[in-house]
Symmetry: C2
Subunit: 269 residues, 2 copies
């Protein structure tokens, strides 16, 4: 397996006779408890991407994390709930044993040329090659990415000095570099450390419960992004009652909007 | 039925022996083709809210609109895919005959008191009573809401003058007023006319394919909003390849963030 990129190792699935897909958690993608949510999301999406009945490319993806995955085998069951002429609605469940560990929905479509006018424009920032790599340590999956923070870096002191704003911006790409595709873009949508840590400068326990990605690029546009960096940003919106959410955007180096993303995250205290 | 609010008439469901719920589209909520998506969303959520096994209150809701509903009966099938100690993950399907017309996922949780620090703050705007009601005509569901636009009103001339920005802000409440709850808040998250109409000043055909709502308030906070207006805003992000998305926020009159929302919408040409 050593020649295969660790991302491809992690998202590899084997189709079973009943149409479900078998996969395994990968130690290189470990988080504090269970794997990095982005790789779980990529595995769920990949089951739809590999499905023989799939029509078109992903436009919308929502994953709900129902439980921390245990190390080991899992099953992904994608089901086309509705197939129209050029669009398709998928319902996905990921299981370990008989227990559901994630649910997801995927909307795929055959895209058509239309008017284009992205409104979420890339902010003016230094280029990735002019931005030093930010050391990140602690959990395994951080070693899978080259991150170059521009704004909103993770606090260096956990001094509980509350701040008003949780905007984070960074350049990021797979390490080693790997051509961008829908699965890796989906994982990249989850690279943001929890906004509540930035607001509070406190390491409270957290866990993402739901994440949505809207794809604004087709496969050929992702191919153009190639092995380059993405500029990604996220900012929190509501924080209270045990949950916060953030909204984010992902652009390629040329400034093309590739995806928008949102997630809601459990936090303690 | 005449004493029952048209919203409550529309979201009323009858439980069947198999645990599914029977409902009917309501002519007062008609859109150009099929019903207003917000009322379909409220019906799907309501099946979970009425389910005897439900644990806690909604935190995240995603609905995927798979087909235009035909006038008449529908069935909603909510299923708890995973129940944890204080959280629950629901998968919902709405059917007409054997055809899936919508899929949804709902995350519910028993909320706990935590640190609160909403970052998406209500903009400074005139009060609803100082803002004239905006006449809206054309489709039936528009008569169900009192809308008072502050910014980004629907174009009065369809002159195809493209504009850079699609921010819309308005005060809105049910007409006649009705105490706010999770179902009506969910419908209110879909009141925005399509951002592509604002950007292009052209009435291109559109249809929402997926909408997500994150709830930042519990039932007691919604009760405080009572029959007041909500300040709601939305702005487009990506537009191209037949789809655009928007991100939005909903506050009560006192400025409390009640929900954030996102949707992706099909458009033609």
């Amino acid at each position: 397996m050593s020649d295969i990129h660790l991302f491809d190792q992690a998202v590899a699935l084997q189709v079973r006779d009943d149409g479900s897909f078998a996969g395994n958690t990968h130690p290189a993608w470990g988080n504090m408890i269970g794997p990095f949510g982005g790789i779980t999301a990529a595995q769920c999406l990949n089951a739809v991407l590999q499905h023989p009945e799939r029509l078109g490319e992903p436009v919308a993806f929502t994953i709900n994390f129902a439980a921390a995955l245990a190390d080991g085998a899992f099953t992904v069951k994608p089901r086309p709930a509705r197939t129209n002429r050029s669009t398709q609605h998928w319902v996905v469940e990921m299981l370990q044993g008989d227990e559901v560990v994630a649910t997801a929905t995927v909307f795929t479509a055959v895209r058509r040329e239309t008017w284009t006018g992205h409104e979420a424009r890339m902010p003016e920032v230094p280029r990735p090659q002019d931005t030093p790599r930010t050391p990140r340590h602690g959990v395994k999956w951080l070693d899978r990415y080259d991150m170059r923070f521009l704004d909103g870096v993770i606090p260096s002191k956990w001094d509980a000095r509350t701040q008003e704003d949780s905007l984070t911006r960074l350049w990021v790409r797979d390490d080693p570099p790997r051509p961008l595709d829908f699965a890796s873009l989906t994982a990249l949508a989850d690279v943001f450390f929890p906004r509540v840590w930035l607001r509070r400068a406190r390491l409270v326990p957290i866990g993402t419960v739901s994440m949505t990605v809207y794809y604004h690029a087709d496969a050929s546009q992702l191919a153009q992004a190639a092995r380059g960096y993405l500029l990604v940003q996220a900012q929190g919106q509501g924080f209270g009652g045990g949950y916060f959410d953030h909204a984010g955007q992902l652009w390629d180096e040329s400034g093309t909007l590739l995806a928008t993303t949102h997630q809601v995250v459990y936090f303690k205290e």
